[in-house]
Amino acid sequence: MELRAAATDLAALHRRLLARAPDEGAAFIAAESGGSGLLLRSYRVFGEKELGAASGELSVTEEAQTAELATLKRGGHALVEVHTHPGSGPAVGFSRFDQEQLPLFARYVRLKLPGRPFGALVLSEHGYAGRVWTDAGVEPLTIRAVGQRTALPRWIDHPGVDPISRVDQRFDRQIRSLGPDGQARIRALQVGVVGLGGTGGHVVQQLAHLGVRRYVLVEDDVVEASNLARLAGATRWDPLLRRRKAAVARRTIRRLSPTAAVSCPGSLRRRAGLAALSDVDVIVGCVDNDGARLVMSELAAAHLVPYLDIGVGIEGEGPARSIGGRVSFYLPGGPCLACADEIDFDEVAEDLESEALRSIRVERGYARDRRVEPALMPLNGVVASLGMMEFLAFVTGLRPVVPFTRYDTMESRLIRQSVEASPDCVVCRPAYGMGDRQMVDRYALDARS
């Protein structure tokens, strides 16, 4: 089983626990189920007064344990116990004392927190070992860190070098740019792309050229004649055949990688689409409405999935006309689109309401018009490429990701924005690491009966 955690959380937990070296440290992680694994929602490092020594080994006092288990029970969380073995090196493992005591503690915890798995991790400066107890038995617990590649601690950052990429001439120039590790990381990813129109078409094309092999394509629109001026990969026959945009994107991918794994679960408002996105390595959002951005922001926070949002806009008239775009990258633990005030909740309410409610509001005269947005293929291409550079920064660690950038076409400039995570954010804070309990599938139209 896998424990998915924000890199920032892991690094902070690791640093705080090993600050006690050469003494051992201990913490309890509040974890949630997400898909087939666990998610780190929060953690508590035990202080000096809460730690004791039983038989010469580190232990958490009964009082601290009881209080913390009660908190976990109230919150509905599972427990992952963490302790350190400073100086053990990369081949760290559970001690004989751990091997004897952890099964007993697992039984105790699973009685206190019934129906939830119990995990245990031991960390050293350079490695970790993990184990998890479930109804099905005991199995290894691995850690999957998500966040800035450049900030990932070395003890967790395994590139998983793919020897095929090293010798594949197709990626020769890219490997010279990003290194074989970088290419291997691209190849290993599963990417979800939501929205396969003007920007999404460019994104899919670039991902396919870069060598991404696994895709979840979320969109259920069909190609229309008016899309041909901007839809990368489309042909003049596609609107005549009422071909789906997802089919066009899949065709683009398969022309470069015939064996690529491409899943097309339909729209974002379907359970299958939401479920598929909750387990990808990164979501690239290329949508034109804030309702979809809210859904993706909440899903990304709940399941700790990095979410790159690419948006373009052409507004106003004459000298007041503004043409530009925005690239926003949510890295779990960092600021989300709502923290950056990039989501208009009035628009969200309209985007997500049922057709029946909308028709009542139209009848009463207070529904906003849904206007047809102007579009330009080169603008889509520029902003999609900006987004893909951040994607490369995220995947390969080329440089740290710049989470928020604006592109102003009229001034021909890029503006880097400084945004802090808001402790009061109504989107990412309550959802953070909540996994399946966040019930993101409530946004699915096929979930409503």
């Binding site: 997500l352 049922s354 029946a356 009848e363 009463r364 019930m439 946004y443």
Partner: protein
């Protein structure tokens, strides 16, 4: 139950002891007393539809059983709610907006510090007590 509603549930239940959660469409139903002599009955059920984006997005309007009217026989500012999956109910026009027409809903990560369902229900009580003005 919607996770944000679940966070608020015990508090709602303490103020509205008969509160019900109904799944389809997702809504909260409470019983409210009405101003004596203002309506054709002393009390009514009130339902609030929970939008999927709640608390980021506000509820919009509320529902009362069909047939509720003012004491003089005139109707509430409402439409038939059959289309939203609530046959036998009326959807009352009620919006938390400022002078410019923008939403006045100001939620927070912690339901105790920003707008929430309890505040929304209190606003409905006040609206009903002002003869829907």
């Amino acid at each position: 139950m919607h996770p944000r509603v679940a966070e608020e549930w015990s508090e709602i239940a303490s103020l509205y002891p008969g509160v019900r959660h109904m799944p389809s469409p997702q809504r909260v139903e409470v019983d409210m007393d009405l101003e004596a002599g203002m309506y054709d009955r002393p009390g009514t059920s009130v339902a609030v539809l929970i939008p999927p984006g709640y608390r980021a997005t506000s509820p919009d309007g509320f529902l009362v059983p069909s047939g509720l009217s003012f004491a003089d026989g005139s109707g509430l500012p409402a439409s038939d709610a059959t289309g939203v999956g609530m046959p036998g109910w009326l959807l009352v026009s009620f919006h938390l907006i400022d002078e410019s027409g923008a939403s006045a809903w100001r939620p927070a990560a912690d339901s105790h510090r920003g707008d929430n369902l309890i505040g929304y229900l209190a606003s409905i009580e006040s609206f009903l007590a002002r003869r829907c003005n």
